[in-house]
Symmetry: C2
Subunit: 490 residues, 2 copies
């Protein structure tokens, strides 16, 4: 099991490559708005110069288990609802402003609907993130994302970009041949697949008819710089399915939409909304500027008959705490029900140990590990949105600064040992040459009934490789920028 090195290019050929890659990106929508952007001008998105090696068998395993993961989370939300709600309730104590508010909004929505769900159908557009763990040649799950997953659009594009470079010969310094062979550089079909997922939501909303009169509402962040990643999905939704879409920030929701007989409408056109697709609302910062308005908007959408992608409860099922509980094999088997043993084993093989920091026996042992063997762990807060992890030797100090009653807001996760690669990152015309580490994300979509647990559709929806600099100290992940990458399968 070995892989080719990255192409070794003369400085002249590298210059040619960067020109081709930059212009391809600008000609094909592999773009982002820069900070302080103007509507009419975009930059290349940050990407790697070369695809990054990833073991083929593990890539395939991660792809294969996605629909099982989809089903697992659907079952948690539907069949295990009481348990899930209790769990969230206990977490809310530690994170009042976000998990707490999500939970409160969920409760209000249930009350407003007299205990019945206004729309039992729920749409999941998920992404399960993994790293390659070199020590035992496995992929290990980092987290399961249930809300506002991004880069499905740009992932397709960067795959196409690297394939273009390979086909055009510039990865080969000498003979202008294809450096990578057929099958080694798969292109993620995530643009079409995620659009297909939204279309499935639309289809079931319309009671299993293709009704082009209903639309999808993208709930987006104000001033979104990554809007092209989202637009690409909008275009596929229109092109492939004839379904129109609108965009609104949480702040604008009450101004732009109205509810009539439970149904959600775009005010300007009176188009009926079949699916509310959140590309915002996943982090506390999405609510901090206008808390009253934004939480009210969230409630407004939740009580409508539109299918939410995700519903509040589905979003909450992505808490680290749920992920931690699900590392218990017998519990997984219980929740998944009747699945083939092989499928279950594949799924379980992706788990690292995740420990609770509570007063159970396991929790007390975890507290000891956190303080005495921190070098093997990462401490993660329960809530969504990255950047808050605490690594290794920083863990004891971090915990000690908190009252022990607050430790339950975190889970303790065994560190994964990914390989580093000497790829290059291109950002804003600059080339950065440092060791990178990569995270593989697998997209999945499903439509399920939160009341009955019935799964209406369950699909794999492509993949994503994100790479970032590995920090020089301790092998942890630097807070520096990441970029979109592709897999070179070996």
């Amino acid at each position: 099991m070995s892989h080719k090195d990255f192409p070794s290019l003369s400085s002249e050929n590298e210059k040619e490559l960067v020109e081709r890659l930059s212009q391809w990106s600008l000609a094909n929508g592999l773009v982002m708005y820069p900070p302080n952007w103007q509507l009419h001008s975009a930059n290349n998105a940050p990407i790697t110069m070369f695809p990054t090696p990833f073991p083929k068998d593990l890539f395939e395993n991660a792809m294969k288990v996605q629909t099982t993961f989809n089903k697992l989370y659907a079952n948690v939300v539907s069949h295990e609802k009481i348990w899930l709600v209790d769990l969230i309730k206990s977490l809310a104590v530690f994170d009042k402003e976000f998990t707490g508010q999500l939970y409160e909004t969920y409760k209000k929505a249930v009350e407003a609907s007299d205990g019945e769900l206004p729309q039992p159908l729920s749409l999941g557009v998920f992404r399960s993130d993994y790293m390659y763990n070199q020590t035992d040649h496995s992929v290990k799950q980092i987290e399961f994302n249930t809300v506002s997953i991004s880069f499905g659009g740009l992932s397709t594009k960067v795959g196409a970009a690297h394939n273009y470079l390979n086909k055009s010969g510039v990865y080969d310094d000498d003979y202008s041949l294809k450096y990578y062979q057929p099958g080694e550089l798969p292109v993620s079909d995530s643009i079409n697949q995620i659009a297909e997922g939204l279309a499935q939501g639309n289809y079931f909303y319309n009671d299993e008819t293709d009704n082009q009169k209903t639309v999808v509402l993208f709930v987006v962040q104000p001033g979104e710089r990554n809007c092209f990643d989202q637009r690409l999905i909008e275009y596929a939704l229109l092109e492939n399915h004839g379904i129109k879409s609108y965009r609104s920030t949480l702040e604008e929701i009450k101004e732009k939409t109205t509810i009539n007989s439970g149904k959600l409408y775009i005010k300007a056109t009176m188009d009926e909304v079949s699916v509310v697709y959140y590309r915002s609302g996943y982090a506390p910062t999405d609510y901090t500027v206008n808390p009253e308005k934004t939480w009210d908007a969230r409630l407004h959408l939740e009580v409508s008959k539109a299918i939410k992608c995700p519903s509040l409860l589905t979003q909450l099922s992505g808490s680290k705490k749920v992920q931690q509980v699900l590392t218990d094999a017998s519990r997984v088997k219980e929740i998944l029900g009747d699945v083939p043993q092989e499928e279950l084993d594949s799924l379980l093989s992706t788990f690292v140990k995740i420990h609770p920091l509570d007063d159970t026996k396991a929790g007390r042992e975890a507290k000891r590990l956190a303080l005495e063997e921190p070098q093997n762990f990462v401490l993660k807060p329960q809530r969504e949105g990255g950047g808050n992890n605490v690594y290794k030797e920083d863990i004891p100090g971090h915990l000690k600064a908190l009252d022990e009653s607050e430790w339950g807001a975190y889970v303790l996760m065994e560190l994964i040992h990914p390989p580093t690669h000497k790829n290059k990152i291109i950002k804003d015309g600059q080339i950065y040459r440092e060791d990178i580490i990569s995270e593989l994300g697998i997209f999945g979509t499903l439509v399920f009934n939160e009341e009955t647990g019935e799964i209406k559709s369950n699909e794999n929806a492509g993949f994503l490789l994100r790479s970032k600099f590995s920090s020089s100290d301790e092998g942890g992940v630097a807070a520096g920028f990441g970029c979109v990458d592709t897999v070179y399968l070996y």
Copy 2:
């Protein structure tokens, strides 16, 4: 024969439209580099907000006659070579620096090859430009372009952009319906068709085999801001035909290419060049900075066995003088040979009167018209590259400032009376609201043998609508900027 007005939108809906159009453009390669550009950042290309009305029957007629025009120019270059060379020789006197140099380079190439063409096959990627003449409901030819025709790439994109807006409902202020009906907004397939033309050249160069080892060389201007228009064709060439391409300025040609046994090679890779595709070399300014180097590069390419798109003689056949002579119906019939009368009539219907300003009887009459009835005419120089036309009342003064012996450098062309439309142009985030006039370009490609006249392929290659402000004075064309547009057929 009437057409719908442009959509009438509220300012709020217009804002939504501009946001959608801008982001679609940036996500789909409808872009250009701004002045003083950086490699990693591009702007929306200047485009119209709405498609511009164009009569369907005339659009179809213009499309239909393209292959006849292709053939006409192929026959001029092959069967009428002696006449053409004599004509060019006489024109060279008036325009020594450009037409004269093209002609001298042609002569040198013929001498260097002992009178034989190093490559008898010639590739034409042409564009015939028309305006709608309201007074007699016809399309009238403005000019026939034989070199470096542009906007085949962006034309496809702007067609798709306007179709996207129409499909997404934002052209309709009230109900978010499709404002334009199926068939009213055709999308030019010029990206694929022009790539197909280049691939045909490659195919015949390789002696009728698909040989992916030969490549196409794009000869481009230094610092080309419209490179995406060209790149889109490169991508289609690679994607649809597996043919690689390289780019070089005239200045770099000798450094980047070499000739071995008559064959042209890219030095860096020793890839053999099948087709030299000029997107430069059409205007005097392409040679003025480094005249020796650039003319030498032109000769270097001309004497190679690569197929030129176009050859020097084919480029020269695009002179206004040739166009003028070809307005004589009997001469056209003679050159075209055996074509159906209907086809000939369609072609002839697109001609306006073009008069020579020489010492023939017709020329003397033209001189009288130029001085006494200038309001009906535009004075055009023989050579390529716009911006040098003299309109109406400015003609007598312009001619009188020249020695009469120099008048032969011009032709006198009857003015066409196009309608104006109140479309809006979006450029660099600004909206311009003025009357515009539009020019319809029809693309065509053909491979022919310059020695025998044999036509190997002859294809229609899509279309282009360009619009620009009509100047407020005299109905002439302002020197201001133009933009890419689409037809709304009615």
